[in-house]
Symmetry: C2
Subunit: 222 residues, 2 copies
């Protein structure tokens, strides 16, 4: 069986879980506490980061961006990057928007301060970093709404990796209770559409010991 | 003529310049001061970041990772990502190593503290961040040497995007005088090999007003 080393609230891991589900590929999850820097895991990925995909033949594919490019090459029946080179420019641009810009400005500081410091027992939360992320998320939800008003899905007519990346990051932040949905109805409509898809079910039933999700997290009518 | 919006000491811009040169594609450089947040530039790339490639037909390709994937698709004669899906896993893994891990731990803090704060006149340098980066670079040069001792180029037998990413980041840090070459002879040998290639010439003659490069920066016998 295909194996995915992951962490429940790691956005890159969630993006790959959604990509595998959307492609109909079966896999087994193995939770990795990356901060323990386990030697056997470092041999799979010297960068020491999740996700890492292990194919049934033993092929090791480390890193969310590497995995999603690999999956579209090897299992092209359901293309997540788009059909043409220009489609792929737009899908990759928006995927990077969430994986780099949204990550840097919103999800990474929130996950670091509210979750990882607690799990790895490494210091107390920086309230200034949390306030900055709470401020920055409004700009991103406005941009998401701007896209969702002009297109069926974020990068065009079809659901693509850009939607999966956005859902991966936003669902992590939502688990921490930091998405101001009430101020952003168009972004909420987009999230409600993706949230109701079967590919999201596993993510919505995730739970991290000691860090309970808010009641609305798994609610399709949030 | 093809146009590349760039900044002389932005590693992503340098990686794309090397990729275009390696593929033999002509282009004109336009320097963009991204901190000025020029409206016409934000319309090309809402993320407000360099590099952005404009093809002769007007196609806009924003972001270094998006551009290098696009270039290998559209101009496949000289493949920089590798010939097989497994080659591409390794090339993308190591490219991400430099663009994400090396960037976060070494080049981004050094460029931010020693260059961008000065150019954008936004505060004084954080000496603790500089010390951390000076410490971290040793680990990366050791990993680079480990790879270079086992392979002809970083990701395998051929020069690939992984070498261009590494050269892009290291040449920026070298411009700032922060690569401890004397302690890392194997990494220096690899850099001497790529430094002597014609594709590096334009980068080695870059100069940023008010921030002169050290004498060894452009020297092939450093």
């Amino acid at each position: 069986m295909r194996v995915l080393y992951h962490h429940a609230l790691n956005p890159g891991s969630r993006k790959v879980r959604l990509a595998l589900a959307e492609k109909g590929l079966e896999f087994e999850l193995k939770a990795e506490q990356v901060w323990e820097r386990r030697q056997a895991f470092l041999r799979l990925n010297p960068a020491g980061e999740v996700p890492v995909l292990i194919e049934e033949d033993g092929t090791v594919v480390p890193g969310d961006g590497v995995i999603t490019e690999y999956l579209d090459e090897i299992y092209p029946e359901r293309q997540l990057l788009g059909e043409t080179a220009l489609d792929r420019v737009e899908v990759r641009r928006l995927t990077n928007w969430f994986d780099r810009k949204f990550a840097r400005e919103v999800s990474e500081p929130l996950l670091e301060e509210k979750l990882l410091k607690r799990l790895a027992r490494s210091g107390s939360a920086d309230s200034q970093a949390i306030r900055a992320a709470n401020h920055n998320i409004h700009h991103h939800l406005e941009y998401l709404a701007w896209l969702a008003e002009r297109r069926n899905w974020l990068a065009g007519e079809s659901l693509s990796l850009a939607d999966l990346a956005a859902a991966a990051h936003l669902s992590c932040v939502d688990y921490l209770g930091h998405v101001p949905w009430d101020n952003h109805p168009v972004a909420r409509d987009w999230y409600a559409r993706i949230k109701s898809r079967p590919i999201m079910r596993a993510l919505l039933s995730d739970s991290v010991p000691g860090v309970p999700a808010p009641a609305h997290y798994a609610d399709l009518d949030f």
